[in-house]
């Protein structure tokens, strides 16, 4: 089965492809090949789009200054004391110097010519994208595998990595996220679709029903989110108490 067949099978949740990836001795290699293919495609398109936007330094400066002005406007809505308003005014008066700093950071010459540096940056983004997908996939697979084993699953980690790699296939849609209006919906679709592929893969590898497989995929991420929220609340409470006791 070619990598394109595996890719197509993953997208349409073809059970035969999932079973074959689970049982194939070279499943992990084929899974990584699929991640490499999707990652390089997405990385190349995104880096090309970024290359166009950073090629003109003034465009970068303008984009930064738009964000800077927006941040000041947002702060203006929350300030309460005259001192805070004064500081905001100073920041507003410093716009030209801040733009000069950004311009210097973007245009300061290196030993290599700027086009070569830009090409290196684009190449780096292209080759880093598959690795970032791999890192995310491995984390999701490890957490899912742990939960699945606790829920009575019988699959091995090697099969789980092989089948879990298929969940990267829908992220091919990320290649179009450079279009601003499509960025959020496409990102959500590819994430949700990847989740469904991972749930299907978990059910196949661990021979679990879809309910338990869904629980296995969502258990630890939900737990981590709840713990994160709890920890943030405790931290905010402590900071408020500290501030109250100091004043």
């Amino acid at each position: 089965m070619t990598v394109i067949d595996t890719f197509n099978g993953a997208l349409i949740l073809n059970q035969r492809v999932f079973t074959e990836m689970r049982d194939a001795p070279d499943g992990v290699r084929r899974g990584f090949l699929l991640i490499l293919m999707v990652g390089l495609l997405v990385g190349a398109i995104q880096s090309a789009s970024e290359l166009i936007s950073v090629a003109n330094p003034e465009q970068v400066v303008n984009a930064f200054m738009t964000g800077y002005r927006q941040a000041i406007e947002q702060q203006r809505a929350t300030v309460t004391t005259p001192e805070q308003r004064e500081v905001l005014q100073w920041m507003e008066d410093s716009e030209e110097e801040i733009a000069n700093i950004v311009r210097a950071l973007v245009t300061e010459p290196a030993l290599l010519p700027r086009p070569v540096v830009l090409m290196f940056q684009a190449l780096a983004q292209t080759v880093s994208t598959p690795l970032s997908y791999l890192g995310g996939m491995l984390l999701a697979v490890c957490l899912t595998h742990l939960a699945a084993r606790q829920l009575g699953g019988q699959g091995g980690i090697r099969a789980m990595v092989a089948v879990g790699s298929l969940s990267v296939a829908p992220h091919v849609l990320d290649a179009l996220t450079f279009v601003p209006i499509l960025s959020l919906p496409l990102g959500l679709i590819s994430w949700g679709w990847g989740l469904i592929v991972l749930i299907t893969g978990t059910a196949v590898v661990h021979r679990l029903d879809s309910g338990k497989a869904t629980l296995a995929v969502l258990l630890y991420p939900s737990l981590l989110i709840v713990l994160g929220v709890l920890f943030s609340c405790i931290l905010i409470f402590l900071l408020i108490s500290l501030a109250a006791s100091l004043s």
Binding site: P25, E97, I101, E108, L112, V117, L123, L131, L134
Partner: protein, 232 residues
């Protein structure tokens, strides 16, 4: 001396989690020697790639001292800094930027030195992890000897082949730590014939202990620094 292609095949077994090669490595009569050579080979290859990448990054990055000078010059002109200087006469940006420049000068060569030390770091990490994991695996009922533990966990360093991407300046590596840990789990399971959960704890307890020790050490160091600062 084993051929390079054989050692490379062993390395890719760790990268692609080939369980059969892990099992075969346990019964390899030269398990420790082959493991050592695999870690060394990967360390040298990644080290060379990282050295080239760091060198190109240095050539493609503006001089940090020039950048700091420009940033300081422009900051001195901002209304924020002018007002701060007017209200607090002792306020100066110089000490901060001098410290930043010193740090930049010190760190300028750290990437290249780190890259050159890669084989040594990989070998020391492998030996330390292997010994700790062996003790834990034995206490959990494992039946492998130290040579088998080291030989099998050596294959897990195949995950570090992902770091070859560093030959391209600015490229970011991710996933190698988790993949390496999965490889160590498979290696310990093969070397000690351990059931899944025991192999899991044998693979993870070492890094968890290391994190706890580092946290305790950092907290102790912080407490000492605070105490010294309060006395001062």
């Amino acid at each position: 001396m084993e051929s390079l292609s054989y050692l490379f095949r062993l390395s890719t077994a760790g990268l692609f989690l080939d369980t059969n090669t892990f099992r075969a490595q346990r019964d390899n009569p030269h398990v420790l020697r082959d493991g050592f050579l695999v870690v060394l080979l990967i360390g040298v290859i990644v080290g060379v790639a990282s050295f080239i990448g760091n060198l190109l990054t240095m050539l493609a990055t503006p001089d940090p001292i020039n950048l700091l000078t420009t940033v300081q010059r422009e900051l001195e002109r901002t209304a924020l800094v002018i007002e701060l200087k007017r209200q607090i006469p002792t306020f100066e940006l110089d000490p901060f930027f001098t410290q930043m420049a010193d740090a930049a000068r010190t760190l300028q060569w750290s990437g290249l030195i780190g890259a050159a030390a890669t084989p040594f770091v990989y070998l020391v990490g492998w030996l330390l992890y292997g010994v700790v994991a062996h003790l834990i695996a034995r206490s959990l009922g494992g039946d492998g000897d130290l040579a088998q533990t080291l030989g099998c966990t050596a294959l897990a360093s195949g995950a570090n082949l992902l770091a070859l991407v560093q030959i391209i300046p600015f490229a970011q590596v991710s996933g190698s730590t988790l993949l390496g840990l999965i490889g160590c789990y498979l290696g310990l399971r093969a070397a000690h014939n351990l059931p899944a959960w025991r192999a899991f704890w044998a693979a993870l307890l070492g890094p968890i202990l290391l994190i706890v020790v580092l946290l305790v050490f950092s907290c102790g160091l912080l407490a000492v620094l605070v105490a010294v600062a309060q006395r001062g």
